[in-house]
Symmetry: C3
Subunit: 200 residues, 3 copies
C-alpha cells in the first residue's frame, strides 16, 4: 500500500519535472535529469544530511525505472497532459503526504529532535521541487506562493502530537499523512496562502 503511494508520488513528481523542463526548452537529457532531480532530490538531501548513504534511490532500482518510464510517457504525451492535471495534482499531494512522513520517521530513527524531524519531512517533500527550479534558473516557486510546505509542517505537528497518545504507529502515520493531504487540498480549493508581509 505504502509502496503504491510511493510509486504514484514518484510518477507525479517526475512528470512535474518534465513539464517544467520542457517549458525551458531543455533537450532530452536535460528533461530526464530534471525529472530525476524533482523525484528524488528531496530524499537525497535528507539522506545526505543524516548520513544515510548510499542515498535511498541508489539502493532500489525501481525508482529509476519508474522515473524513466514516467518521463518518457510524459514527453510523448506532453500535449495531452493537461487532461491529467487533476489526477497528477492528486498523486502529487498524496506523494507529499507520504514523503513528509517518510522523512519524519527517518529523523525519529536517527534520534533527532521533533522539530528537526519535521524539517526533514518538509525537506523530503519539497526540496526536489526546489532543486528543479534552481536547475531551471528560477526562484523556487515554493518560496513565493505555494502553501504546501505549510501542509507538511502541519502534518509533522500532527504526527508528534498523536505519538503522545496511546495509538499504534501505523495509525499515527496514516492520520498525519491525511492531515498533510487535506491541508493542501483545502488550501488550493479555498486559495488559502500564508499571510503576506508586503503591502500590495
Amino acid at each position: 500500500m505504502l509502496y503504491i503511494i510511493d510509486v504514484l508520488g514518484t510518477i507525479a513528481f517526475a512528470i512535474s519535472g518534465v513539464l517544467v523542463a520542457i517549458n525551458k526548452k531543455m533537450d532530452l537529457f536535460g528533461i530526464l535529469i530534471i525529472a530525476f532531480v524533482t523525484a528524488v532530490g528531496g530524499g537525497t538531501l535528507r539522506d545526505i544530511m543524516i548520513g544515510d548513504t548510499p542515498v535511498s534511490w541508489m539502493n532500489n532500482i525501481t525508482y529509476t525505472y519508474v522515473i524513466l518510464a514516467s518521463a518518457i510517457v510524459a514527453i510523448v504525451l506532453r500535449s495531452k497532459i493537461d487532461y491529467l492535471r487533476t489526477s497528477l495534482f492528486l498523486f502529487d499531494t498524496i506523494g507529499i503526504g507520504l514523503y513528509t512522513l517518510v522523512g519524519i520517521e527517518k529523523g525519529v530513527h536517527a534520534s533527532l529532535h521533533p522539530i528537526i524531524c519535521i524539517a526533514l519531512g518538509t525537506i523530503t517533500a519539497s526540496f526536489g521541487g526546489v532543486m528543479r527550479d534552481i536547475l531551471c534558473n528560477e526562484i523556487p516557486v515554493i518560496f513565493r506562493k505555494e502553501i504546501y510546505a505549510t501542509a507538511c509542517i502541519l502534518g509533522g505537528i500532527a504526527y508528534f502530537l498523536l505519538s503522545e497518545l496511546p495509538i499504534e504507529n501505523n495509525v499515527v502515520f496514516l492520520i498525519a499523512g491525511i492531515v498533510v493531504i487535506v491541508a493542501r487540498l483545502l488550501a488550493v480549493k479555498f486559495k488559502i496562502s500564508l499571510p503576506t508581509i508586503y503591502k500590495d
Copy 2:
C-alpha cells in the same frame, strides 16, 4: 564565550538571509528557509563533505530556535533594521571569524591537509551566503566584490603559522579569529578589494 559568539553570528547570518529574501518578495516560508540556509548552509556543506553527519545544526536544537526567533524579529522590525546595520555588520564579521576557525578545526580533527582545512573554514564562513544568493537566483555576491573570503583565508594562514609556535591552542584560535575580523574591518573601511583583472 565561544557559544555567545556563535549565537551572535547565527543571528547576523539569519537576518542577512531575511533581508535578501524580503527583497525578492518571498513569502513567509521562503524567508524562513533563506534565513536558515544562510545561517547553517556553510556548516552543512562542510559536515557533508567530511562525513560528519547528522550535520551539526541537527544535533543542537538551539540553532533552530535562534534562527526562527531572529527571522521573526527581523520580519517584524524590517523597516527599522537599518538602524542596526552597524551592529549587524559587527556580529556578521565576528561570526565569520568564529566560523572560519570552527571549520579549520574540524578539518584538523579529520587529519586533513592545512590547505584543505583553510578551504573548509572559508566554506563554513561563506557558503551559507552563496546558497542564499543561488536560491534567490543571483550570482553569489561573494564571487563579485566581497573581500571576506580573503579575510577567512588570511585567518587560516595565521592559524597554521601560529600553530607552529609553542602557543596554546586557545590563544592561536583567538588570534587567528582576530586576524579574520580585523582583515575584514580594514578591507571595508578602506574599501580594499582584490585586484581586478578587468580593464575599466
Copy 3:
C-alpha cells in the same frame, strides 16, 4: 598513466571554469572557486551520495595545487587561451572518459546496480559543469545542447557489456573510456545532437 590523464582532465575542467567565470566578470576569488567547483564538483557529489567521505579531493592535495596553478595560468594568459582551444577540448574529452569510468568503478565497488553506476559515472563527468553554470546563474549548458552526457552513458553501457566477457578489467576500462571519447569527438565533429522534441 591514469594519473596523468586525471591531471590533464582536471586542468581542462579548471580552465573551462575560469573562462566562464571571467565571462561573468567575477573577481579573483570567484574565478578560483568556479575553477575548483568545475574540476571537483562532479566527484564531490558522487562521493557524498555514496557516503565516501571525506570526499576524494580532500584526501589528495595534488588536485588543489593543479587547480590553483591551472586557474592562475588561465587568468594570466586568458587573452591567448583561444590558441589552446583544440588542446583543451581534447583534454576535456579525455577527462570525461576517465571521470565516467572512475565514477562507474566507485559504484561497482559499492555494489550498486549497473544503471546506478552509469548514473554515478555521468554525474562524476558532468555535474562539475552543472554546478559551474548554476553558480554563474545560467541554465546548465549540458541540459540544452551538449551531447556529452550521452557519451558517458554509451561508455557506461560498453563497460558493463564488456564486463560480461572474459576480458581483463583494465582492458574493459580502457575500451569503455575510448567509447566515451570517440562518441564525443564524433558528435562534435558531425554536429550530432539528441533528437529535439520541439518544433521550432
